[in-house]
Amino acid sequence: MKTLRYVCLLAALPAWGLAAEPENPVLASFDQVWNTVRQRHWDKQKVGEAWDRARAELRPLAELAKSAQEVRPILQKLLDMLGESHFGVIPAEAYAQLNGGSAEEAEPAFDIRVLDGQAVVTRGAGDVKGGWILERIGEREIAALVAKAKAVASGEREAKLIGYAVIHRYMKGAPGAAKVMTFLDGENQLHTVTVPFAAQPHMVQFGNFPPFSMEVEHAVRNGIGYFRFNTFFDPEFLQQELSLTIADCGDCKGFILDLRGNMGGIVGLAASTAAWFVPKQDKLGTVISQTGKSNLVVFPRPNGFHGKLAVLVDALSVSSAEFLAAGLKDLGRARLFGEQTQGAALPSLIEKLPDGDRFQFAVADYISAAGAAVEGAGVMPDVAVRPTRNDYLDGRDPVMDAARKWIFSKE
C-alpha cells in the first residue's frame, strides 16, 4: 500500500501542476521539480523545513519567469541547495536531433583535459598534436571558459569536469562541417587548424537521456588487453565488444580497463562489466533509496578474465565509472592508477517537465563494498599518477605506463 500511494502521488504530480497553473508550464515545471525532490529524495531531513523555505523564497521568482530559459537558473539555485550531484535541468535543445531539429552532435577526433588552467590536448588526431593547448574555437577564448568553470566549481576536480563540459559544447559541430581552432604548440607557436567533424559512428539513445556519442576502443597488445569506453550505455554493444577483447586475451599477462573520461550511465552496467573480471558472485556496493537497500550484485561471466587487472581513472571518471572502480578496488580485484575520481556518484532518473526541459534527479545514495560513500569523496587511486602537459607533448601516457609496469612486475 505504501508503494501504491507513492506511485499515485507521482502520477498525480504533473496533473496537479497543470491544473493549478494551466497557462504557465514554466511555473508548473518549478512545482514538479520541487515536489519530485520532496517526495523522492532518500534523506527526508534534507528535504524538510529547509526545502519548504527554499520553495517560499524561489517560487515567487519562478512566477515571473516567462520561459524555460528564464526559469532554469532559478531551478538550478533551488537544486544547488542540496549540494549533491545528479540534480539538474537539461535544456530541451539537447534533444533537438530527436525532434528533427538541427543538431550539432559530431565531435572532433582529438580529446582534451583541463590541466593547470589550460585545455590540453590529451589525444591528438589529424593535424592536432598531443600536448597542444586549445586557445580558441573560432573567436571564442578557451582560457575565459576555463576561468569561468573554475569560478563556479567547488574545487579542482569539479573545475576540470565543468571546464571539459563547457569546452566540449563549443567543440561540437554538424557532421561534415568544420570549425577553425587555434592551438599553441610546445614551442609556443600558434597553429590554426580547420577541424572536421565526422559523423559519430555510434550514437545511443536511452530513455529520457539526451543522445550520447559512444566510443569504444579495444586492443590486445604486447600481452595486455586494453578496453576504453566513454559511457555505460547500449549494454548489448558494450558487452559484446568487451567479450571479444577478453576472448582474444587468453594468454594476456594482464588487462587494462580505461575509465578516464567515462561519464557514467546505466548503474547496472557497472556490475555487468565487473562480471567479466570477478570470479565469484559478490557485490560492488549498495544503493540506498527511499524504498530500501539494493545490492549491486556481480554475477560472474563463465569466460571472464581473472588475471591482473589495472583500472585507469581521472577526475572525469564519473558516476557508474566510479561505482565500477570503487567496487573492483574494494573487492581487491583491481589496482587503480591515475587521479582521484569526480565524486559525482548518485543513481538518478530523468523526467520530462511541462516546459519541455528534462529534469535529472538522484533517487538514491551509493555506498561502496567497503562501506564508504562515493558521492563527494570520489575514489582514490592505489597509484597516484598526474600527467603533465610535457607528458602529452612527448607522446607519453604516464598512467598507462604505470599500469603496464605493474602488470609485468612480480608484485
Binding site: G207, E236, G292, F299, P302
Partner: protein, 247 residues
Amino acid sequence: MFKKLTLTVFASAAALIAANLPTPEAVFNKSIQATGGRANYERVHTMLSTGSVEIAGQGMKGQITVAAAAPDRSVTTMEFQGIGKIRTGTGDGIAWQSSAMQGPRLLDGEEREQSLRGARMDAMLHWREVYGEVKVEGEDVIDGKACWRLVVMPPKSSKPETLWFDKESGLLVKDASTLVSAMGELQIESLYLEYKDAGGIKIPRSVRQAMGPQTLITTITEVKVNPDLPADAFEAPAEIKALLAKK
C-alpha cells in the same frame, strides 16, 4: 469489571468481523468462476501473449512476448530500446535470466521459488498448493473497488504476500510481495487492470508493477490460447546452458 466488559465487547466485535469475512475457498472459487470457470482453465495448456512495456515517466518503451506451458514452463522476452533483450525463463525446477545488463544467471533460493510460482498456469486451481497458508484478513478499497485482503505464506518463502480480490467481480485486483534475492529485498506491488476474455478465461491486459523507485507498465495486446509452440520455445539460451553445465 469495566475492563472485563470492554474486553468482552472487543472480543464480540472481532468475532463479528471474522464471521463476516469469507473463507479463502469462497474467494478463490469466486475468482475462478469470474475468470472463466474450472473447466475452461483445465483446457488451457499453452499460451502466447504479446504486447508492450514501458517504464513510467522514463521514456523507456519496448515489446514483450510471453510463451507459457502448463504447469510452469515459460520464457518471457522483453526488448527495450537502449537496453536490448531481457530474457527470463522457468521450467523443470530451474529459473534463469539473461540480459546484457546483468549477463546470464541462474536464480536460486526464494527468487527461484517465486519465479516458478509466478509461472504456474494453474495457480488459481491449485491455490492451496501454490500459496500455502491463506488467511482472509479484511477489506480494503483498491483502485476504487472494495476488495477482500488475503495474506498468504507460500511454501519455501520467508515473506508473506498479500492479494486483493474485488468483492463484487471476484477478480484479482492487486498483489504485494517481497522479492528476496542476492540484490536484497525488493517490494513489488502489481495492479491488474482491464480483464478481457481469451479462449474462455479472463486475463488482465494491463499490469502496473511498482518496483523500488520505478514502475513497469505492461500492456498485453494479443493472447493466443493453446497455440502450437515450437519445440525449442522453452529451451534455455546457450549462456544459461553453460552455467547449468558448470553446476
